[in-house]
Subunit: 344 residues, 2 copies
């Protein structure tokens, strides 16, 4: 392995928000030297998430220099004061650091070591979606075995995680997807993952699954779509229920009927896992959560999202595919740094 | 005073939701006899509130036999087991009982005695709006002296109470009203009540009162309008702020941008004071609240809403005026039972 002293690193950057294909460029930078309590990392893999694309597009109120919400890295060099990690360990960062780069130096305390037995794709996609889903199921309303959770965008990366975690915890899921060619195939896929019911946007409007008492009305709804679709989730929530929003794929606002708030005591909240990680009061829960998640991933109770590894040099391919509709709702494209590394 | 034995009482009832003028009829009924722990009441005054009209219209998911959310009554006869009240006391009911009637028997424990020095209009309008505003300012987010609250429908009955309570507690208010002829007159009226700023719906879109730091961004918004107007309140809320909805005058849903929930940690809740009263955990807070409210009303720190007393026999006039736009946002019409009573 290189000691890094004469090497250059490279990263993806942008100056002004816009179409990622146009504004993102690759640049080299000197390999950073870790400070006293820092470690130098070489990235192993970093997903291109829809949220990353939206940040570059300027659709979210956030601008960064180097994008990339998550990824897994290997410890390459330790600062003199580092005690908890050793060279070769695999780590993820519990803060937005910009992972679309070959190398970065980070303070020891923002890093979480992950076992090497965890697959690279599992580790690279561990920071963002699994904690978002875990917190949504834990923090907003008590959901017990036998209860029901309703969600839209059920085939999204978070959607399929919610199905799997709920199955694991004995919670029923009512899953809403957009109508599409071969919709039965997607329904079967989701049911095989553990979905209790899967409905299209049309079907959810008229379902009698709650009226007939086959399922308890849900106290929790997970929304990543917005618009009228979210209003349907709100309609099915029980008295005192909560709709937690983690995305807005339809690019439409959420339509909330006044009567739901006043007469059914419905509450609307949003989650941003980045904010959650930043709050000191959550540090204890963080450790327990990752222990649970890593255990479920290692047991195969949670599966990594369908994904394609794309050589970092061909990052434009990953951006293009994530921008297309198929990318958004289908496979996740993960930047793979192994070719870059092998040059050293 | 009559002992009621040979008398009949009368009340307003409806069987099917519809236009109140068409569906509401007056009927007589035998004067009820109070049970052991009940008291027989004669109503003194009962407002016709927009919410009452909406219930009769079937716009709210609630149907009752005899409408009427609030009102003040006089104790006429005690059941043998009643200890806390005496004949002649003035009381209000802390539960939906249907106040549009000359007499009713109620359990002692749902009644709150109010001092006779409190004006009849003040007491008649004490159950619904003042507690709604009080709870909105106390229960959703901490609002301290020097902080800001933003609200729409600022000239509504609740709106003007919020202005007065905030002034009393050292809280700044940013108040949104619809543009109208003589808007400056209404602005002056609200400023004289204690409003810090008053803006029309157009003006609130471009105000720099937060940007320039003249006021802290609000952590609390009070919404009784919905639609795009509510979205403006959400836009001005600070990170972590709450929009509490207590009405939907525009009859439009609330448009909530996804990014507000995710990136600004905004929360949406609703309040229904009837539900609040029903919850046992609130019984202690209830006593303190009414002590505060009655004290503010007696001191003139809170004023009764602009109102017109209408003889109960002429209830249709009160219904018609409340149905008109002017009624909804202007004077409150209060059914006055004194003429009925004087017959006994």
């Amino acid at each position: 392995m290189s000691n890094g002293s004469a090497l250059t690193a490279s990263r993806l950057v942008y100056s002004e928000p816009g179409d990622p294909i146009n504004v993102i460029r690759k640049e080299t930078f000197p390999l950073p030297e870790p400070g006293d309590q820092e470690v130098l990392l070489e990235m192993l893999a970093a997903p291109v998430n829809p949220v990353d694309v939206n940040i570059v597009q300027g659709k979210y109120p956030m601008q960064v220099e180097c994008p990339g919400y998550e990824g897994v890295a290997r410890v390459m060099k330790l600062g003199p004061g580092v005690r908890s990690l050793k060279v070769g360990d695999h780590v993820i960062a519990l803060r937005y650091v910009g992972t679309w780069r070959t190398h970065l130096a980070l303070p020891e305390q923002v890093l979480l070591q992950v076992p090497k037995e965890l697959g690279i794709a599992e580790a690279a996609t561990l920071t963002c979606n699994p904690p978002t889903v875990y917190r949504m199921l834990k923090d907003y309303v008590e959901v017990k075995p036998g209860d029901t959770v309703i969600q839209n965008g059920a085939n999204s990366a978070c959607g399929v995680l919610a199905i799997q975690m709920c199955r694991q915890w004995g919670i029923n899921t009512v899953n809403v997807i957009r109508d599409r060619p071969n919709v039965e195939e997607l329904k079967t896929f989701l049911k095989n993952l553990g979905a209790t019911y899967v409905f299209t946007e049309e079907e959810i409007k008229t379902t009698d699954v709650f009226k007939t008492g086959r399922l308890e009305k849900p106290m929790l709804g997970l929304n990543c779509v917005g618009g009228k679709n979210a209003a349907q989730l709100i309609r099915h929530l029980d008295f005192g229920g909560v709709l937690v929003t983690y995305g807005g794929m339809s690019m439409e606002p959420i339509y909330v009927p006044t009567s739901a708030l006043i007469f059914r005591d419905i509450r609307l909240e949003g989650i941003n896992i980045n904010n959650w990680f930043d709050q000191e009061k959550n540090f204890a829960d963080r450790a327990k959560m990752f222990k649970d998640l890593i255990s479920m991933l290692k047991n195969g109770q949670l599966k990594a999202p369908p994904h394609v590894m794309v050589n970092f040099e061909r990052y434009e391919e990953a951006l293009k595919n994530t921008l297309s509709k198929d990318g958004m709702v289908g496979k996740k494209y993960i930047l793979d740094f192994s070719v870059v590394r092998s040059k050293f």
